[in-house]
């Protein structure tokens, strides 16, 4: 963590609810450029919704999100207009997202998966998109799979390809929604390694995860969420060794008892 870096993501008073109740309650926090933040917390605490709000897959109810200088804000009860949706789209193109279930496009080969968005969204020429894609595949160790279809890849390979696909859009921030939850234990490492590599290259990343060891070792800081709120927000080691809140303690105790952390 470099405290001299500027804040890249600033979230203020973010609220989001669905028909069956409020999910995020006045969430505020800041992430600096180049940081790797892990979000942990019990199931249903709102961490996935939080991530989906960050890249506007879910439109916030109220509050403001500012990413790389683009700000979307909404007053309570304000009807979203065309302009707000345009900003949401702008934010999405600054943010890369990786899903638990990879979501590769099954009708396209791996390399086509990577080339599609740059060619369609950025109108990159095919040769340029190919060059970029093949380099990214090389980086995640999948160069040999360029012309394979997603259905032939293992889970770990699929997730690495999905990361490369998001990187092809050259995002300022990468978001991961439980990227290793669907993987066999022996495949988790290869995916985490890609994220560590990206961190050392200075990529800003936010990861929703259950991998406590990874969160503790690799994160610049950890956000503990519970019941739609950020309960604690601290350096990995500090949060794990001396949590301030009772809720954090209770949550971590569960992992200590099961020997994960």
């Amino acid at each position: 963590m470099n405290i001299n870096n500027k804040p890249l993501i600033v979230v203020e008073n973010l609220c989001k609810g669905f028909e069956d109740g409020e999910v995020l309650k006045n969430v505020s926090f800041t992430i600096r450029e180049g940081d790797l933040a892990s979000i942990i917390g019990p199931s249903g605490c709102g961490k996935s919704t939080f991530l989906r709000c960050l890249n506007c897959l879910e439109l916030l109810d109220s509050g403001s999100i500012s990413i790389a200088g683009v700000t979307i804000s909404r007053r309570p009860g304000q009807v979203p207009d065309e302009k707000m949706l345009d900003i949401a789209h702008e934010i999405r193109s600054e943010v890369g997202m990786v899903f638990q279930s990879y979501n590769l496009f099954p009708h396209k080969t791996i390399i086509e998966n990577l080339m599609l968005a740059p060619m369609v969204v950025k109108k990159q020429p095919k040769e340029e998109a190919y060059e970029l894609a093949i380099n990214l595949l090389d980086k995640v160790g999948l160069k040999g799979f360029a012309s394979k279809y997603p259905s032939t890849l293992s889970g770990g390979q699929s997730q690495r390809a999905a990361i490369a696909r998001a990187l092809a859009m050259n995002p300022r921030v990468m978001l991961y929604d439980e990227p290793t939850s669907a993987l066999d234990p022996e495949l988790v490492g290869e995916v985490l390694q890609v994220m560590k590599d990206l961190d050392s290259e200075g990529m800003t990343q936010i990861i929703v995860t259950h991998e406590m060891k990874f969160a503790r070792d690799a994160s610049d800081y950890i956000i503990f969420m519970d019941n739609g709120e950020i309960v604690e927000y601290d350096d990995g080691d500090i949060l794990f060794t001396s949590p301030k809140s009772e809720r954090t303690k209770a949550f971590l105790r569960h992992f200590v008892n099961t020997g994960v952390a």
Binding site: L57, H89, R92, N103, F105, R165, A166
Partner: protein, 518 residues
């Protein structure tokens, strides 16, 4: 969407302007009849099914010559001849049309060109029926919506069976499905006059007048037709036609006040009787079927043209409807839903009738081809729309989300990610739909088109044979559908390959009993 509307508008423009020849064309005498109207009125020549013959055909030709016009034939189903006349498909109609009060309300009639009576026929061995009164409690066949049917209804207590095709009635009488057949004398004569199993009984019943129907507003044309008819009668040309067709009866002699003996042989009747009296040898039959093949071939082309045009319309409109239902604001989407529900909930037959005969009353006119193609197209669009919609929903939501997360707009995500996958899902059901459309296209035969089904009716009625032509027409339908069946199989297999279930065997075999699942 805009393009589609433009296309439809264009189609309407073209078809409304090029709709059937209208009355303004003075040089032609456009006349409507039913090629299945039956013998001896008009029917395809058994020796050459492309040629329409019959005593009424002879009359029209003589009439046109007398009027100095060129006869142009428009085919229509018999029960639709009068609606078709008022829809201006043709200028006059002649096909055993009886001068009834109901008919007179909607069209004008010329002076009658032929008068005849109704003839009762029974099986040769049956002595229980001698007059119409004896028919009480018996099954009697007659022509649908005819004077004969009215008479039978007046007597009451008769189990009346109505037919569209005369030949069927006498066949049913011969094999015992009916106890009697009650028809216009010419029909009886040509259906059974030479049939050793059937005899005519009872006196002449009623009086039938056949006349030429003309639209109410065409008063001048009516006068012209009447003048020509009188001239033909006085010159003896009409009598000559009746003689040749063996239709000169004492009734006609009284009508024309001409009791002189016939000068010409009943050559046309003899040909007919000769062709139908002896049982045909198998080789003769095959020869006949071979003669009919070109007619079936042309009909098959019509069937394909209508089906393919309808399918293109159905796919384009179906896609629009599906996209509207899925993406448009709620109230527009519910309009699309309403359309789908109405179209799926009403018979396609009614829809075709409505488009062809109903819409002209509000000024929208289509040629038979376009009425058929549009009717079937609009109908199948509703089914296509539902297929596409289910195809769209078969693609997981996460695909949509990950496309958006990559910075694509909604339209880009739809075009690049969702649609290409949805298309793979829907190709097999669409192909199946096309096969079923191919068969439903047989319905266009009711709006004057000579497609395969109509050709079957025509040729069978001509030969008095529903067996061989039936097999031929079924085989043609099968052959036409075959490429699409194969295509559906192929795409299904391709889809299965992408889904990769190789290790555990093909998914087609999942539900078959095998050792693995015991």
């Amino acid at each position: 969407m805009k393009k589609l509307i433009l296309l439809l508008a264009l189609i309407m423009l073209v078809t409304t302007s090029s709709s059937p020849v209208l009355a303004e064309d003075k040089k032609e005498l456009v006349w409507g009849g039913d090629s299945e109207g039956g013998f001896p009125y008009m029917f395809p020549n058994p020796k050459n099914t492309d040629e329409l013959i019959g005593f009424e055909v002879d009359i029209v030709e003589a009439l046109a010559e007398q009027m100095g016009r060129k006869p142009v034939y428009v085919n229509n189903a018999w029960e639709n001849l009068i609606p078709g006349l008022n829809r201006k498909l043709y200028d006059i109609s002649i096909n055993g049309l009886e001068v009834t009060p109901e008919h007179k309300e909607v069209v004008n009639f010329s002076i009658p060109y032929y008068k005849t009576y109704l003839q009762l026929a029974v099986r040769k061995g049956d002595n229980s029926i001698k007059t119409l009164e004896d028919c009480k409690g018996k099954k009697v066949g007659t022509l649908k919506e005819s004077f004969a049917q009215e008479l039978l209804e007046e007597i009451g207590d008769i189990d009346i069976r109505t037919y569209n095709v005369e030949a069927n009635t006498y066949e049913d009488l011969a094999n015992g499905r009916l106890d009697a057949a009650f028809f216009d004398h010419p029909i009886a004569l040509y259906s059974a006059g030479f049939n050793p199993e059937i005899k005519f009984v009872g006196p002449e019943v009623g009086e039938l007048e056949y006349a030429i129907a003309v639209r109410k507003e065409d008063k001048e044309l009516l006068t012209e037709v009447n003048k020509a008819l009188v001239a033909l009668r006085d010159s003896g040309k009409l009598r000559e036609i009746y003689d040749r067709w063996n239709l000169w009866t004492p009734k006609m002699a009284a009508e024309f006040n001409d009791y002189s003996p016939s000068k010409v042989e009943p050559s046309r009747y003899n040909e007919w009787a000769e062709a139908h009296r002896p049982q045909l040898t198998f080789a003769k039959r095959l020869e006949r079927y071979a003669d009919a093949l070109p007619a079936f071939g042309r009909a098959a082309v019509v069937t394909m043209q209508v089906s393919i045009t309808a399918m293109i319309l159905a796919i384009a409109l179906g896609l629009t409807l599906a996209i509207t239902r899925v993406f448009a604001p709620k109230w527009i989407a519910s309009l699309a839903t309403l359309y789908i529900e109405i179209v799926r909930g009403t018979p396609v037959l009614i829809q075709l009738f409505f488009i062809f005969y109903g819409l002209p009353s509000i000024g929208v006119k289509f040629s038979p081809f376009w009425a058929g193609a549009i009717g079937l197209g609009l109908n199948y669009a509703a089914y296509e729309a539902e297929i596409y919609r289910s195809g769209l929903f078969a693609i997981p939501r996460t695909q949509w989300e990950s496309a958006l997360a990559l910075g694509m707009t909604r339209w880009q995500a739809m075009r690049e990610v969702i649609l290409p996958q949805a298309v793979r899902v829907v190709i097999p059901p669409i192909t199946n739909d096309f096969i079923s459309l191919l068969k439903d296209s047989s319905l266009v035969s009711i709006i004057t088109m000579v497609d395969l089904t109509k050709a079957y009716g025509q040729i069978s009625a001509t030969y008095y044979d529903y067996f061989g032509p039936g097999i031929i027409v079924a085989v043609i339908y099968l052959l036409l559908g075959l490429p699409f069946v194969r295509f559906a199989r192929y795409t299904e297999r391709r889809l299965a390959e992408v889904e990769k279930d190789g290790k555990y065997g093909h998914r087609e075999n999942i539900y078959r009993s095998s050792t693995r699942y015991i």
